[in-house]
């Protein structure tokens, strides 16, 4: 049975769409447009926020390692999920948050561990959907390197072309 993800086109859950794109070979997810963001799991359980949807999809496909390979990585991923929800989706204090992100990326290729994880997905999605990012992003070289590296990868470019550009 395929999972059904409903998305709100005015408030695109890019992070969740990216997670769905990553896991699509092991977990088929059908996407349809609707009024709000919702992943229907069972009659009793459905997830409405992007972080929960991404977490659930990542847990369904543990072999991909999207939720890290050990407890410390999971904790770091939790940190970045909250970071993107709190500091990158709200407008004020973007420069400060970007400074912190830039510092964290200075010695890293991916945000957590040595492979792509939910942390990369959610932070990338938050920046992609942020109006202030292209203008403010110039001065953060590490973020720029990481952002364009991810943007060139297949799942990211697929989601970017399909959804993010539609909004503009």
């Amino acid at each position: 049975m395929a999972l059904n993800l409903t998305i709100n086109t005015n408030n695109l859950p890019l992070g969740a769409l990216l997670a769905a794109e990553h896991v699509k070979d092991s977990v088929p997810v059908s996407v349809e447009e609707g009024k709000d963001n919702r992943l229907h799991v069972s009659d009793a359980i459905q997830f409405n926020d992007v972080n929960s949807i991404s977490r659930y999809l990542a847990r369904l496909a543990p072999a991909l390692g999207l939720y890290g390979s050990n407890m410390m990585e999971q904790t770091e991923i939790d940190h970045w999920l909250e970071f993107s929800a709190r500091h990158l989706c709200g407008q004020p204090g973007l420069a400060e948050a970007l400074g912190e992100l830039d510092l964290a990326l200075s010695l890293r290729t991916f945000l957590v561990g040595h492979a792509v994880t939910l942390a990369d997905l959610s932070v990338w999605a938050a920046l992609k959907g942020h109006e202030g990012w292209p203008s403010q992003g110039k001065s953060f070289s590490h973020i720029n390197r990481w952002f364009s590296f991810l943007s060139s990868q297949v799942p990211f470019s697929a989601v970017g072309n399909k959804y993010a550009n539609k909004k503009a």
Binding site: I45, S52, Y56, R59, L60, N70, T75, R86
Partner: protein, 317 residues
């Protein structure tokens, strides 16, 4: 019965010329050295003593059994968890900890020679109740060396915050005797921060994420992806909407809690989880206890019956 024996202070047979105008009394010190010897205790007294000890032990067991039964009556799934059986079989009166075996080495990876130190920076204006509760649960499970410090950025930290991790440990100089170090620093930080392994981990911000980390040291998350995510979703809701949200959001969360608790005894299914711990602390901290609907009230009582929340309640007074 084995007491330190004192030698006679004076000899027993000193001749003193006594006046004859007084009553004569037999020497009350006459039979020294015979009664104090442990070998000469009457066996009947010993038997009596053994009987008393046995009765006390039975009374103690009975008390534990009654306490366990009382919990079954007032807590929805106490008959499912190990509280009752463990308090019946062992005489320790410590409250229950979580099911499932977790071992620090398997959880954190074996790192020979490295000491595991958790350092938490928290703002005294918003004491992280969940973390204090989890700390006391960790202390029941592991040997934890806990210390509290005050950073120079804050002044006038109330005394109950300074002693919130319990009394200072007597063996604090011998760090290697402990499995975990837990250092709480009261500091002027906007959000709770945790530093654990500086080399491989970035500092973890947000009480929710620190709570998830500490809880995983106690018990594994549910293996079912939906339940595990449900736990995470409630943890987010507790901190984002109950603690930091508006009155309208708080009311919405209370309604959601109420309907979830109408279906299940606990928030994420049949067992107590991190979801219950964080939501309980946040409901208390946001002052929504009096406005909570019926199912939530019942669940708050069930949580209290578990007895984990001593540190949280202490700070809220």
């Amino acid at each position: 019965m084995s007491m330190y024996q004192v030698k006679p202070i004076c000899g027993g047979d000193i001749k003193i010329d006594l006046p004859t105008c007084m009553y004569k009394l037999a020497n009350i010190h006459a039979q020294q050295g015979t009664g104090c010897n442990p070998e000469h205790v009457d066996p009947a007294v010993k038997a009596l003593e053994a009987r008393q000890n046995e009765i006390m032990r039975k009374l103690y067991e009975l008390k534990a059994a009654v306490e366990g039964l009382a919990k079954t009556v007032t807590t929805p799934d106490a008959d499912l968890d190990l509280t009752v059986s463990s308090s019946l079989s062992s005489q320790s009166s410590s409250s229950t900890t979580f099911k499932g075996t977790t071992d620090l080495d398997t959880q954190l990876g074996k790192d020979h020679g490295a000491l595991r130190d958790i350092v938490v920076n928290a703002n005294p204006a918003h004491p992280p109740l969940t973390l204090l509760v989890l700390h006391s649960l960790l202390s029941q499970r592991y040997r934890v060396l806990s210390t509290v410090h005050v950073h120079s950025s804050v002044a006038g930290v109330p005394p109950q915050l300074l002693s919130c991790l319990g009394p200072r440990h007597a063996d604090s100089y011998a760090r290697q005797m402990f499995q975990l170090g837990f250092t709480l620093i009261w500091k002027d930080v906007p959000k709770v921060e945790m530093k654990f392994s500086i080399q491989n981990m970035c500092p973890i911000k947000g009480e929710a994420n620190v709570a998830r980390f500490l809880f995983k040291l106690l018990a594994p998350y549910p293996s079912d992806p939906a339940l595990a995510t449900l736990v995470d979703s409630w943890v987010d809701t507790a901190f984002f909407q109950l603690l930091d949200g508006s009155a309208k959001e708080r009311a919405a969360v209370l309604r959601a809690l109420n309907s979830a608790l109408g279906r299940n005894p606990w928030l994420a299914g049949p067992d107590v989880s991190l979801a219950d711990i964080t939501c309980y602390c946040c409901v208390l901290q946001s002052g929504s206890v009096s406005s909570a609907p019926a199912n939530v009230q019942r669940w708050l009582k069930s949580c209290e019956n578990l007895g984990y929340f001593g540190p949280a309640k202490l700070l809220l007074q």
